[in-house]
């Protein structure tokens, strides 16, 4: 097994970090910002629900699920790009 060079490691970590920050920004918006404005959002309607209620009961949850699946997919791509993915599979 060849040692991954220190440059590749740094580039890998920079990309990983950026991906994580991106994910966390979206997480912040849907878990904290959207509920903060629930009252204002409730004046709008979505699928027959008041929007603020809908986001807290379902909308944000759907976003979280999609975010994590995307993260798993994308991080794997980054690992493969820099040759630091695991060898199995």
């Amino acid at each position: 097994m060849s040692e991954t060079t220190s440059d590749a490691r740094q580039a890998h970590w920079a990309k990983t970090r950026n991906l994580t920050i991106g994910i966390l920004v979206l997480w912040f918006i849907f878990s904290l910002v959207v509920p903060w404005f629930a009252n204002a959002l409730n004046t709008m309607s979505f699928l027959g629900f008041p929007l603020g209620y809908y986001m807290a009961a379902q909308g944000s949850l759907v976003v979280f699920v999609v975010l994590i699946f995307y993260l798993a997919y994308k991080q794997n791509k980054i690992d493969e790009e820099f040759g630091v993915a695991e060898d199995d599979q």
Partner: protein, 604 residues
């Protein structure tokens, strides 16, 4: 043979699910033939516990790797199911919909917090801890920061948080067992514990994993069936979760009609409440937004710090699988969480809507008191219909109910067959048992691996280590059951505290250990002690010393005080002391890439 077992998992659990459905149908037939509701409930609870115990027995092991991390061979999807069962406790299954029923929008902070936390688990924690190769969470803290003090601090926080949580779960199993078996609550608690230990005692993490998968299947069927049934009866279609917007609008009308929020109860009954909160309205002003957001933050950070969840991701075959497994976990959890608000909505409609046969508000008191389910739940003091103003008609402020029983009573309220009530009882039992198992194992493993083996007797042989682990499991379970039998807290209060304890003490030391190479031993110890002490002190101040909550931060949210203190302590002390040695820094580098051997070798 082992490889065979893993390859055959879909077939095995497919057969199991089919078998369970056949069992439900059989019960339905027996009900038609005149079997009593009590007998059906009893059969449901006993049959499912018997299955879990059988799985526990088949998974017995004397190997360290199998006992602590299920041999690290649990596929991502199945680990997702096991985590979902591990995660969804009595609080999620039994109490959550009831909380939404009474609390309205503010309560949805739990729904958002308990799902959003998984984004933190996936992005900040799980894959890196998997690469580390530890057996327990303190194992990681102790190795990353070095020194027994850091390890000990982590063990203490873990034990306090998990133990708070586990008593609530044993309490829930006791409640359900006492109703299904018609035995006193104090005895039900011990019966519940027996079931829990049958699953985990012999096979440790391996047994808990395979029973949790089985428990997930039972609990999700039990949760979805009544909601879909009710929704069909009320004409909202087969996938009610997307179609109950109209029901919410109708509730809005009914709330005005019955003066929800204006009519306050004029009597009080211990533990029971009347409906005063609007179902969908979010409340005016920054304080209600602030309360929502602070609760969500504590629950999310707590999710990412609770050891019984993190340790589930130590069992996957690879780092890649650990990441995927978090995604599967949340998907399986989501199935229940996006149903809970729907269940609360439909049940409330059943009770409030005078056009439905089941509606009781606005009906004659004597008629309501004659209802079977009203009598049954009144007998155990979980419900009360009281004609406060003496007009003979039931008003909204005269119907008192305990929030915890909404889910359990829903099938009866909606007039569904008894077989559904039995199914729901089995589901609640599965939810509480699976979480209790994970928690007891997390505590016992931390004490046996970190305290006993790593700190007290590093030369202990395998047999002795595993024997210690089992004795501890038994002792902690017994202590938990004893405390639960004293009935000190309601199910939900104690659960929220566990999250606050965990995030106060562990969140930043865990995250910064991975994401900040400079973080050192002294900083981590300061962070754990500072956050944990500050959070606990605030809890004492606001809950027991009669202090006024500061900016609406009550006892459910004390992590909001603990976490910043933890962060500041950790950063300041780290900067004041030496940076960690080169070996530690290399360890962090290794953690950040999936490739290569784990940092701690197997059988460490």
């Amino acid at each position: 043979m082992k490889g065979n077992f893993i390859d055959n998992l879909p077939k095995i659990y497919g057969l199991y699910t089919g078998g369970f459905i056949v069992f439900i149908l059989l019960m339905a037939v027996l009900e038609q033939m005149g079997m009593s509701a009590e007998a059906i409930g009893l059969l449901f609870v006993l049959f499912t516990i018997f299955i879990y115990a059988a799985i526990g027995w088949l998974s017995r092991t004397m190997q360290v790797e199998a006992y602590y991390v299920a041999g690290r061979q649990v596929p991502a999807v199945f680990n997702g199911m096991a985590t979902a069962a591990d995660w969804m406790s009595g609080a999620s299954f039994v109490a959550m919909a009831g909380g939404i029923y009474f609390g309205g929008h503010g309560y949805l902070a739990f729904v958002v917090g308990w799902t959003g936390g998984y984004v933190l688990v996936a992005s900040l924690m799980a894959p890196y801890l998997r690469k580390f190769g530890c057996y327990t969470v303190p194992d990681y803290i102790g190795t990353r920061y070095g020194g027994n003090l850091a390890r000990l601090c982590a063990v203490i926080v873990l034990v306090v948080a998990s133990f708070t949580y586990v008593t609530a779960q044993i309490n829930a199993t006791g409640t359900i067992a006492s109703r299904a078996l018609e035995i006193p609550f104090e005895l039900g608690v011990w019966f519940g514990l027996l079931g829990i230990l049958l699953c985990s005692m012999l096979g440790g993490m391996r047994a808990v994993t395979w029973t949790q998968v089985a428990q997930y299947i039972v609990l999700i069927i039990a949760y979805l069936v009544p909601v879909i049934w009710m929704s069909n009866k009320q004409g909202f279609g087969v996938i009610p979760q997307f179609a109950y917007g109209d029901a919410i609008a109708r509730l809005g009308e009914l709330e005005t009609q019955w003066q929800v929020g204006t009519l306050k109860a004029t009597e009080t009954f211990a533990g029971l409440s009347t409906l005063v909160n609007s179902h969908a309205g979010a409340g005016e002003g920054w304080l209600s937004s602030w309360k929502f957001v602070t609760l969500a933050i504590c629950m999310m950070a707590g999710t990412a710090s609770l050891p019984h969840i993190l340790m589930r991701y130590f069992t996957t075959p690879s780092v890649r699988a650990a990441r995927q497994s978090v995604a599967w976990s949340l998907l399986f959890i989501f199935l229940l969480y996006f149903t809970a608000p729907a269940l609360a909505t439909f049940t409330k409609l059943q009770v409030l809507d005078p056009n439905l046969a089941t509606g009781i508000i606005g009906k004659a008191i004597s008629d309501v008191q004659a209802l079977d389910w009203v009598q049954k739940w009144s007998e155990v003091n979980f419900l009360r219909v009281s004609d406060s103003n003496g007009d003979g008609i039931l008003q909204i402020n005269e119907f008192f109910m305990r929030a915890d029983i909404v889910v359990l009573a829903t099938p009866e309220i909606a007039g569904l067959p008894y077989v559904i009530s039995g199914l729901v009882a089995a589901g609640g039992m599965a939810a509480a048992m699976s979480t209790a198992d994970g928690l007891l194992l997390a505590i016992a493993n931390a004490l046996s691996h970190d305290l006993y083996y790593k700190m007290i007797d590093p030369r202990a042989d395998t047999r002795k280590r595993l024997l210690t682990a089992r004795v501890l499991l038994l002792a902690i379970g017994a202590l938990g059951a004893f405390i639960a039998s004293l009935k000190l807290t309601s199910i939900l209060g104690a659960v929220a505290w566990a999250f606050d304890f965990a995030c106060s003490g562990l969140f930043f030391p865990l995250v910064l250990g991975i994401w900040w190479k400079r973080a050192n031993t002294a900083g981590a110890v300061a962070g754990m002690i500072g956050g944990f002490v500050a959070g606990t002190a605030y809890l004492y101040y606001v809950r027991f010393a009669g202090g006024d909550p500061w900016m609406g931060i009550d006892h459910l949210r004390f992590g909001i005080i603990g976490m910043p203190v933890s962060l500041v302590c950790m950063v300041v002390v780290t900067m004041m002391t030496k940076e960690p040695d080169e070996e530690t820094q290399r360890m962090v580098d290794e953690m950040r890439i999936p490739k290569g051997a784990t940092i701690l070798s197997a059988e460490h």
